[in-house]
Symmetry: C2
Subunit: 329 residues, 2 copies
Amino acid sequence: MTGSEVAAAAGVSPATVSYVLNDTPGQSIPESTRTRVREAAARLGYQPNAAARSLRVGRSDVVVGLVPDTGYSATFSDLMLKLSRSLSELGLSLVLHPAPLDPVRLRELLRTIDPVGVVALTGLDDDTVTALQAAGVRVVVGTAGAGAPRAWEIRFGAGEFGAAQAQHLRSRGHERIGLVRWARDFPSATDQGRAAALLEVMAVAGQTHIPVLDLPADPGAAEQALGVWLRDEPAVTAVATMDDDVAALVVSSADRLGVAVPDRLAVVGAYDFPVCTLVRPALSTVRADLGDLIGRFAAIIHEAVADAGSPLPDRIAVDTARVVARGST
Amino acid sequence: MTGSEVAAAAGVSPATVSYVLNDTPGQSIPESTRTRVREAAARLGYQPNAAARSLRVGRSDVVVGLVPDTGYSATFSDLMLKLSRSLSELGLSLVLHPAPLDPVRLRELLRTIDPVGVVALTGLDDDTVTALQAAGVRVVVGTAGAGAPRAWEIRFGAGEFGAAQAQHLRSRGHERIGLVRWARDFPSATDQGRAAALLEVMAVAGQTHIPVLDLPADPGAAEQALGVWLRDEPAVTAVATMDDDVAALVVSSADRLGVAVPDRLAVVGAYDFPVCTLVRPALSTVRADLGDLIGRFAAIIHEAVADAGSPLPDRIAVDTARVVARGST
DNA sequence: TTGTACGCGTTATCAG
DNA sequence: CTGATAACGCGTACAA
């Protein structure tokens, strides 16, 4: 079903079809013609060819959502579903991809999808951001990142989660805290941003660096790694984790090791995943109303796509980050 | 960077560039020309434009992976990562999308991505499969489904997980079992296939239908729903769940209700998610070496894409489905 | 007010 | 054995 066929059915030229269906401004087409075209399009089930459109316009209508490759809880899933709906109303569509991606797979993604925007639930390192811009991505929404954000890049929640975690642990009397992240081949930018945010708060209490534990996903290996780490870092009485999945593994590993939570080791996670209330003790965590942000993301992306020259906010604060205290702290 | 520029740099025509870089058979181009072209392409960092290619060829090189919209664990995440790599080697790329999708979003996905193949970690209902075929998708790999598979559709693991769960529960002496699935607006085809598989095994023991509990994701609501359901179904002494996330919520809800697991209620999950060993009692589950299947999926998709007429297997058995017995049964 | 014609980058057909 | 050239479907400048 092509635009020409619709034009033929409506008795107009292909150009008119394009004008009508795209609501092209500056064209004075009588309402009667418009309805005839729209009706024909609807009747024939006309769907514009995305490839032809992309080729002509020079960009696709696709936004890529980068999700953590460590698995992806219902919390994040809901977020992406919301984003998908919001973007959909604005004529954009969302597909997901696991992150972080190595340079080769990133290039492949950019080449095959040529997204107009990227929303990352993970941090993006500078090289990735640079590659995205070079590939023509109009707007990037992500969390942490080392340098200053570019004009077309928006950051959110860079430090709020870490700050909330550290403040909570301090308020519970802890003076030396650590960070637990997933062990992985390539370091994640989110991990680094979180560590920096924790340190900023703990520096006030005299802590000079944040010890980091790389936790393997395998329960046996995790237990061992935690045991060794706790011996090596005897001053650490509490840990913040990158997310609640990691926190859950810490708590259960501690249980097996005979390490009392929260007495010997307090644990605070992040994002309030469903797993929080499944483990014993239940996980304290930091949650934020990210769902609220999603609508703004969509609007910002739409704006950036529609009007390339419009200025973007370089940062969106997550002002709703709040501690949910449960049994693990 | 376009093919024409490469052609100019190499002193050949654009057509020759296409022939060389695509290894088009039936063309006798001297090795010297080939190397010259390849060199120029590499030097200039040529990346073919996917939109133009899609427009010309009539399909994209993208495969869509449908993932459960309830969130998915590291187990599925790993699977998709493996699939992504396998497809990548075959010149195809993978993007993810939450499923099930309503008809509107499905159409949008098909229009914007125009995938050449679909791999679903969830079941696909018949309408969806029909829509996929109509949109020109060459091959669909999915789990359950009501009717018989189409020639271009491959099913895997339709009943194996359910059969293994039911057999395990029977071997533990249970004669009346139920199925627990996520409460959701639209029924999932996976859920229906699982129920049928369970019934097939339990029919031998005289069970005539499988009571189903729709579990809300919210812990409080889940606890209440489980309590009511157990009162309504006093004969049920064990449940199989759709996956380990659901199973974990059942176990923790039972704990809060004072229902002893496994004595009053045995619980067996599926897929061996990491959450299995995080809850008490640890979850019995059914696992299969799906990673092994992934490579075959990729090969089958590649085959179907490369040679439209080649016959596909209509079914791939998951012969490695095995029970992992832990504390919950 | 509407239609014609061109170009986006690629691949396939068909002369040379 | 090689390379012009047309065509894919759309959007838009310009002509009618």
